[in-house]
Amino acid sequence: MSENIFEVRNVTLRFGGVVSLNDVSLEMRRGEILAVIGPNGAGKTSLFNSLTGVYQPQEGSITFTGRDGKALSIIGQKAHRVANAGVARTFQASRMFSALTAFENVKIGAESHRGIGVLGAMVRGPRTRRGEKDSDALTIELLDFVGLRAKANVISASLSYGDRRRLEIARGLATNPQVLLLDEPAAGTNPAEKIELTELIRKVRDVRGVSILLIEHDMKLVMALAERLYVLNFGSVIAQGTPDEIRANDAVIEAYLGSAATAEEK
């Protein structure tokens, strides 16, 4: 059934002798907020990189199904092809185009999926001008959406961590995605920013209809946001379910929450 936006079947990813993902299977439904949690080195970011075409797993299959019902097998695709198909992402350590303004960062996302047209760009023909206008409008709309409109002309390197996260989300949304993959969006943000970020992520799904896949260490944020969770440990899925089910799962508590919970109480 193509209600699933992602279908990951028995994916194994190795780097030499190191098994990063071991027979991982998961499903993501269209329109849900799904979280992947797990201790450091559990393979969360490897999973993200496999879903976006940055890494090529040796075994298994990953199928992305777009709104139009067309299925795309991710393994073997280049990262930019995956992005154009409707998979946007942010990075663990946010990767902005640091020397460009917030506006330019988002605009690059907005125009990357249009055709190229070098000659048009050289003479600034009518199609190029129309494209510029459309991208400008979308960029302003998205900066407004994430609450960065006032900082449109600020060089992205001088934005705060929280603002960089928002900017990355806006840049991802500019590519008109169907699913947004967020790699530890709350890392390095303060408690107030965390609350705003939680609201923003929920707004992305509710207002723009973009499904969210989330990796996060911050349990409070995950439990507040996610509708379903997968738990990874040593590259394998050890549990899945709703936040309440996960909280009660013994294997998870042992592998992850137990140590994390005590660490957080300090």
Partner: protein, 447 residues
């Protein structure tokens, strides 16, 4: 004492002093087998006029030069510090931006008028020829290489290849090669322009598509090899290119449209105007390109290729595009040179040529069209001056010593170039303060 010596301003003085001492030895008298150290000592103690004012010994002159350079560099680096500060809190005010734009446009028009009047002011035939062959054509070439090196951030050390391809294509279609012309008839060089551009662009794509997957140093080495291959082909394929004897006579371009009849002849001035027209066209096209989505995509790739891919930019496609645009510009410059100089020889398409163009781009400011044009005009004018009225003991090959020294000094003191582009300036400022992924992209360490 130690703290004093460590101050950057003092350290800089000693570095410049050392560079000047090296220059003294390089330009000093040669030693002989009887007195091997005589040349070394003589480099410092030989009498020398002090810029024609009074006579003194060499080390005084060089010490004076060192102080002057040190003063200039110090003033310059104060400005450089201001650049770094601007990185942290830049906010572009739209009105200031438009004002800057109109100022720049006005300045451009003034410079264009100066360029148009220039051949009437400078009537020395040496300089008139130099203005076409060595300055205007080099401006074109530098602008083309700037797209590759400055916009897309790819190091191309074989740029001469595309220039040679343009020149030999012109010879081919006009029937100046031993091999029969492309269309069976000898064409006017004007028709060579689209053909040469197309062939240069095609060879850029053919070279680029497989090799642009490489990064940094590897790409530089492949392009270096390509440049050499083209020169060796031109030299050795005697039956096709005429070999080291060069091509036959390439005709001058002419316009023959009913009442409109004009032949570009031996005098360089009409060529100068023809080239200026194309320089202006390329200038406008490239600056529109820089501020289009293509230019932004190049910036994105240059700064963080992984992030660029994550928003759907195909890096290979854009890199090949930059390569093709650079190549076609060089191809066009080849047409101008070939039709103006009547015949061409493989010996003019050397590695030094590629490096020379690269120096113009780095000196002027990578990624800055205005900077690159200025760099090309400045350096080429100085090198032509040295050729025209050489100072005592100067030989034409010495130019490369000076260009090399200039490049080293630029890298140390002003890596952004004379007239840097704003984007590049910020990037280098950020890389120096450890932000951004610029350094990763250059070294190819991106995961």
């Amino acid at each position: 004492m130690r703290a004093f010596l460590r101050r950057p301003i003092v350290r800089r003085f000693f570095m410049i002093g050392a560079a000047m001492a090296a220059l003294e030895v390089m330009t000093g008298p040669p030693g002989s087998t009887e007195a091997p150290t005589a040349g070394f000592a003589g480099s410092f103690t030989q009498p020398s006029p002090f810029f024609g004012l009074f006579s003194t010994v060499r080390w005084v002159v060089f010490l004076f030069l060192a102080v002057v350079i040190w003063a200039i560099v110090t003033l310059w680096s104060i400005q450089g510090a201001a650049i770094k500060r601007s990185v942290t809190t830049v906010t572009a005010v739209p009105r200031a931006a438009t004002q800057r734009k109109s100022v720049r446009r006005g300045l451009g028009v003034v410079l264009l008028i100066v360029a148009l009047i220039l051949p009437h002011v400078i009537t020395d035939p040496f300089w008139q020829a130099a203005m076409v062959e060595q300055i205007a054509v080099y401006v074109l070439l530098a602008m083309g290489l700037n797209v590759v090196v400055g916009f897309a951030g790819l190091l191309d050390l074989g740029f001469v290849a595309f220039y040679a391809i343009g020149a030999y294509t012109t010879a081919w279609v006009t029937g100046a090669l031993p091999t029969p012309p492309l269309f069976g008839v000898d064409l006017n060089p004007f028709f060579a322009i689209p053909i040469a551009i197309a062939i240069a662009m095609l060879s850029g794509v053919l070279l680029g598509a497989p090799t642009l997957r490489l990064r940094g140093d590897y790409l530089a080495i492949v392009t270096l090899g390509f440049g050499e291959i083209i020169t060796i082909f031109a030299n050795n394929l005697y039956g096709i290119t005429g070999g080291s004897q060069g091509t036959g006579v390439i005709p001058h371009p002419s316009i023959d449209l009913g009442p409109l009849h004009y032949v570009w002849g031996l005098t360089p001035v009409p060529y100068y105007y023809l080239t200026i027209v194309f320089v202006v066209i390329f200038l406008i096209a490239f600056s529109l390109l820089e501020h289009s989505r293509v230019g932004r995509a190049w910036t994105a790739i240059r700064e963080d290729e992984v992030a660029a891919e994550s928003v759907g930019i195909n890096p290979l496609k854009y890199k090949v595009m930059a390569f093709a645009i650079g190549a076609s510009t060089a191809g066009f410059a080849g047409v101008v040179t070939a039709s103006q100089s009547n015949n061409i020889f493989p010996s003019s398409f050397t590695l030094f040529f590629s490096i020379n163009i690269l120096v113009l781009v780095i000196f002027g400011g990578m990624g800055s069209i205005a900077g690159v044009v200025l760099g090309a005009v400045l350096i080429q004018t100085v090198s032509m001056y040295l050729l025209h009225s050489p100072p005592a003991g100067y030989q034409s090959a010495d130019l490369y010593i000076y260009l090399g020294a200039l490049l080293i000094l630029m890298m140390i003191f002003r890596p952004v170039g004379v007239l840097p582009s704003r984007r590049r300036k910020r990037e280098i400022g950020l890389a120096e303060s450890g932000e951004g992924h610029m350094d990763e992209v250059l070294t190819g360490d991106t995961p």
